[in-house]
């Protein structure tokens, strides 16, 4: 307490140092005057009284110092002195200062930018209540490996009823739906969610309310809708009286009961509205325990751990497996932290980048350390003089470290500006789209990180010259001429630093090379179809007679009477076909890489009994006859559908090669029969009319699972479907006329997800491309910095050996001998750096394996990277070597 009070007083005093000083003067002057007056009263003459008073008082300056000490922090004041001195020194060498600060600014700035991104992608960034206790529940299945499939509604209800570990549980699903306002249809993403969804996330509506449990009853759902703030403003002009009004969603009237606060777009970060989960699918589908694919969100009870919740759900899943063996064999539940679900995918990439920028910073530090060592050589006399007048060795080292810390602090300040700029570029230009609530920026935590990094750099950078200065031999240094002679030891340190720089640069260059190769490998991969010049778009064709709940794209269900669409698929296809510049058009319930595919279990005639682990499963697509020719998917056998087969009752089916390989490897597949569901099920047999090549339908570089594709004839029961338009003109120029022709056909058809096949492929490689360009930038910076480093060292070497070179030249050495001498020296450093760097790259590549496709550090790309580095580095050695040959022997000899 006492200590604290004293500290406080001292801190206060810091702010009015000048007044303190004046007060002290006045106080002591007053005392002396009083004493003097007293002596005078006692009869002493004026001058004598003054002297006597002073004598009695003692050494005024010393006592003042003593009083001042009571108020000051000694170390702090010394530090300020050192800092002022350092700033003066740095100002005297502007060239050095600018280069060093720039290198540090790039290194620290890049680190700050990446750190802010990493820091912005943690649980606390999630805009929800206590996000760390939120988990997502995944229904999964053990096939050849564990696969996540999502949950079915009956499973979800059982989990919710039985599990005790959770405060609440909500099902959710993200779906696009048609919202019609004033006759204007628009396709929007919305979330279908259980009632507790909002309270689970801790988000209250800005207006009105959210759903009740009663409204979420699949038997009698409440037609109520909650709007996002954005949708409310955009489509409803922020109407304050919106609550209670009706709006058309998928042809049904829903009552608006609430508007969410701005920025809330649901877990999927794309939702513009919310309706009860009961509307997620038709009742028949909702009741099917085997129909999985939806999300479940839950909050752990206080005190419940994720592990205990997992254990509990394991038990529940086992009970369900016994109870419902048909649908739940090998089915489990996975409890996954929400944070991991939302950010986990990017984490390996971000950590790799963090390591990469750390390397860049280390290279920058090594460069600055080298510069400082070079300077400390020329400052040996200054150091010696300061030692001679009484500076202790510790004081000198502290001075040098202060100097380097001032340098890194300047670098950090500039680095913060670099980071600020880099962050915005990163977010805007990134091929990876970050969630809207990830808003990296320079905040307190990031600033603290930057300060810590710059201090660490300051110590690191100041250590080498600091230690060297400590070892200065006074006599030698003072006697010596301005040029240092014990450059040998420091040259070793500098060489080591350059080798380290080169090695780090090699690692980064190899890393960048691997990323570039990965991206090119994926891009050049044959996806099984021809993605060039294809425009893709999706439509949702309304029915003549409302209401019609969404019909699943899967053909598993028995036919049920469905109202006629306003326009048939065939009409739409023909209209689009007539647009000039259109080569071919195809319809499909989904298209490759558009993310709309869904899986179904099937059976092949005559197949041996199967288990849940190996029951054949396919991704099923309904396609028009021209689908394969339009997309360039090759036939292996048979033919495409004919027009007569485009009916729900048609038994014609086309399968991908993989189906044939599994069941009829050496036989003619045409005419073979398969059916959906199990062999004993009541679904009709389908007969194979064609076999096509396997396609990377669901992902690049490969499909997430090895399931085959099954194609059924396109029928108008598909309410939402995609169009693939092959263009003979630049595909983007077709978008407007195709839109126009669909609109002209029927204005009530919303058009959405307009893209090109090439853009869809680009979406698959976004993370690799993100890594590629960042790694590329870092590697380039590393290359430049390390080349500057080796150039500096070689230049210094040449200047140190001017005399020796002069003698050699005088003795008849040729210019090329000198060049060989200098470049040879440099080449040794380059070779060492490359060798160490390659070894490190090989050791580290394992850590980024998940980000690579089809390459290893042994790839030719690494060779190119190393060759580039070595080449540039040797050129950097050659320049000072050339300068060495121009040494005038006479001048060199007179130099000393």
């Amino acid at each position: 307490m006492q200590q604290l009070l004293a500290l406080w007083h001292r801190l206060l005093a810091l702010s009015h140092r000048r007044r303190l000083e004046r007060d002290l003067d006045d106080e002591l002057a007053f005392h002396l005057a009083m004493r003097e007056a007293e002596y005078r009263r006692a009869g002493a003459p004026g001058g004598e009284a003054t002297h006597a008073a002073r004598r009695r008082f003692g050494n005024v300056a010393y006592l003042k110092e003593q009083c001042r000490d009571m108020w000051t922090f000694h170390p702090l004041e010394t530090l300020m002195q050192d800092v002022r001195y350092a700033l003066r020194t740095l100002r005297r060498a502007p060239g050095f200062t600018v280069v060093a600060v720039a290198a540090l600014a790039i290194g620290i700035g890049a680190n700050t930018a990446i750190f802010s991104l990493v820091d912005a992608m943690r649980a606390r960034a999630l805009p929800y209540d206590e996000p760390s206790s939120l988990v997502q529940l995944w229904g999964n299945v053990m096939r050849t490996r564990l696969e996540r499939r999502g949950n079915s509604y009956p499973d979800f209800l059982d989990w919710r009823a039985q599990a005790q570990s959770f405060e609440a549980m909500a099902a959710f699903n993200n779906q696009s739906s048609t919202l019609t306002v004033n006759g204007e249809p628009e396709r929007l993403f919305g979330e279908f969610v259980s009632a507790p969804y909002f309270s689970l996330l801790g988000i209250a509506p800005a207006r009105g309310r959210t759903f009740t449990e009663a409204e979420d009853n699949p038997a009698a759902p409440g037609y109520v809708i909650v709007l996002s703030n954005g949708l409310w403003k955009r489509r409803f002009d922020a109407n304050p009286d919106i609550l209670g009004t009706k709006t058309l969603l998928n042809g049904n009237a829903y009552t608006v009961i609430g508007v969410m606060p701005p920025d809330f777009k649901g877990l999927t970060d794309t939702a513009e509205f919310w309706v009860p989960f009961a509307f997620n699918a038709p009742p028949r589908v909702m009741a099917n325990r085997g129909n999985r694919g939806w999300g479940a969100l839950a909050r752990l009870k206080p005190g419940a751990s994720r592990a205990s919740a997992q254990l509990e759900l394991d038990g529940i899943a086992r009970r369900l497996e016994q109870q419902y063996p048909d649908t739940n064999e090998k089915r489990g539940v996975e409890v996954s932290p929400l944070e991991v679900e939302l950010f986990g995918g990017l984490r390996p990439a971000l950590l790799t980048l963090m390591a990469a920028v750390a390397f860049v910073l280390l290279i920058a530090c090594a460069n600055v350390a080298n510069l400082l060592i070079a300077r400390s050589e020329t400052r040996r006399r200054e150091v010696a003089v300061r030692t001679a007048v009484g500076a202790s060795r510790g004081r000198l080292v502290r001075q040098l470290i202060t100097e380097s810390c001032v340098l890194t602090a300047l670098g950090a300040a500039a680095g913060l500006l670099v980071a600020q700029g880099a962050i915005s570029v990163l977010i805007v230009q990134s091929p990876v789209s970050f969630p809207s609530y990830v808003t990296p920026g320079v905040d307190l935590r990031v600033a603290a990180f930057t300060i810590a990094v710059s201090l660490a750099c300051g110590l690191l950078v100041g250590l080498a010259p600091g230690l060297q200065a400590g070892g200065v031999d006074l006599n030698e240094a003072l006697k010596e001429t301005a040029r240092g002679s014990d450059g040998r030891r420091s040259q070793r340190v500098r060489n080591a630093l350059v080798v380290a720089e080169l090695a780090l640069a090699v690692v980064l260059l190899v890393g960048a090379g691997l990323m570039i190769r990965s991206v090119r490998n994926i891009a050049s991969l044959n996806p099984g179809f021809d993605p060039a010049s294809i425009v893709t778009l999706r439509v949702s064709v309304p029915r003549v007679a409302a209401p019609a709940a969404a019909v699943p794209a899967t053909p598993t269900g028995a036919a049920q009477p469905v109202p006629e669409p306003v326009v048939s698929g065939r009409t739409l296809l023909e209209r689009v076909q007539s647009v000039p510049g259109v080569k071919a058009v195809a319809l499909g319930s989904d298209l490759p890489l558009d993310g709309n595919a869904s899986a179904t279990i099937f059976a092949a005639e005559g197949m041996p009994p199967v288990t849940a682990e190996n029951a054949p499963r396919s991704y099923t697509h309904r396609v028009s006859p021209g689908f394969f020719s339009t997309l360039g998917i090759a036939f292996v056998a048979g033919r495409t559908f004919d027009d007569n087969e485009l009916t729900a009752a048609s038994p014609a089916v086309i399968v991908s090669e993989r189906v044939v390989k599994r069941f009829w490897p050496d036989q003619d597949p045409i005419g073979r029969r398969i059916k959906f569901g199990t062999l004993t099920g009541s679904t009709p047999w389908l007969s194979i009319v064609g076999v096509v090549r396997d396609v990377k339908y669901r992902g690049l570089p490969d499909n997430p699972t090895a399931d085959p594709d099954i194609y059924l004839p396109f029928i108008d029961r598909n309410q939402q479907f995609s169009l693939a338009v092959r263009a003979s003109v630049p595909p983007s120029s077709l978008v407007a006329p195709v839109r126009a022709v669909i609109r002209a056909t029927d204005p009530s058809i919303p058009i959405y997800d307009v893209s090109t096949m090439e853009a869809l492929i680009g979406g698959q490689t976004s993370q690799s491309r993100f890594m590629m360009w960042l790694m590329g930038v870092f590697a380039a910076v590393a290359l430049v910095l390390s080349v500057i480093g080796i150039y500096g060292v070689m230049s210094y070497l040449v200047s140190q050996r001017t005399r020796e070179i002069g003698i050699r030249l005088a003795l008849g050495a040729a210019g090329r001998d000198i060049i060989a001498l200098v470049v040879g020296n440099g080449a040794r450093l380059v070779a060492a750096g490359v060798a160490i760097g390659l070894a490190a790259a090989f050791a580290l590549q394992r850590l980024v394996a998940s980000l690579l496709y089809g390459v290893s550090a042994a790839d030719a790309a690494s060779g190119v990277a190393v060759a580039v580095l070595a080449g540039v580095a040797l050129v950097a050695c050659y320049v000072p070597a050339l300068r060495a040959t121009r040494v005038d022997p006479l001048y060199a000899l007179r130099y000393e």
Binding site: Q2, L5, A6, H9, R10, A13, D23, D26, E27, L28, F30, H31, A33, M34, R35, A37, R56, F57, G58, N59, Y62, L63, Q66, C67, D69, M70, W71
Partner: protein
């Protein structure tokens, strides 16, 4: 920062106590504190003036004294030190300790 030359003329530690005691009745400036101690001790204790000011500032930093600028008897601006509540408590502690020590020393000296 040697302490040589300003060793108090009396037992170490007692200077603080004497200062606190001096200003306990009314605020005083440095000079009058010197005079007060000298007179009250009947010229036995002569405070070395140089040592006084560092001590005053130390006590101020510790929060035992509070300094204010005022006007002296002869109408000059002077810095007056006043005892704070914290300082009063300290004075009591020190006085009590001093009494005990002094009594003990006296007892020792009286034996034999």
């Amino acid at each position: 920062m040697g302490e040589k030359g300003n060793e108090p003329a009396f037992m170490p530690g007692t200077l603080d106590m004497l200062i606190l005691k001096s200003v306990s009745r009314a605020p005083m400036h440095g000079y009058s504190i010197v005079q007060h101690i000298q007179q009250a001790s009947q010229e036995v204790l002569r405070v070395e003036e140089g040592a006084l000011y560092p001590a005053l500032h130390r006590l101020e930093v510790r929060g035992w004294l509070k300094a204010e600028w005022g006007t002296s008897d002869n109408n000059r601006r002077a810095k007056f030190y006043r005892l704070t509540a914290l300082g009063r408590r300290e004075l009591e502690n020190e006085a009590e300790y001093w009494q005990r020590v002094a009594a003990a020393v006296t007892r020792v000296m009286q034996t034999a």
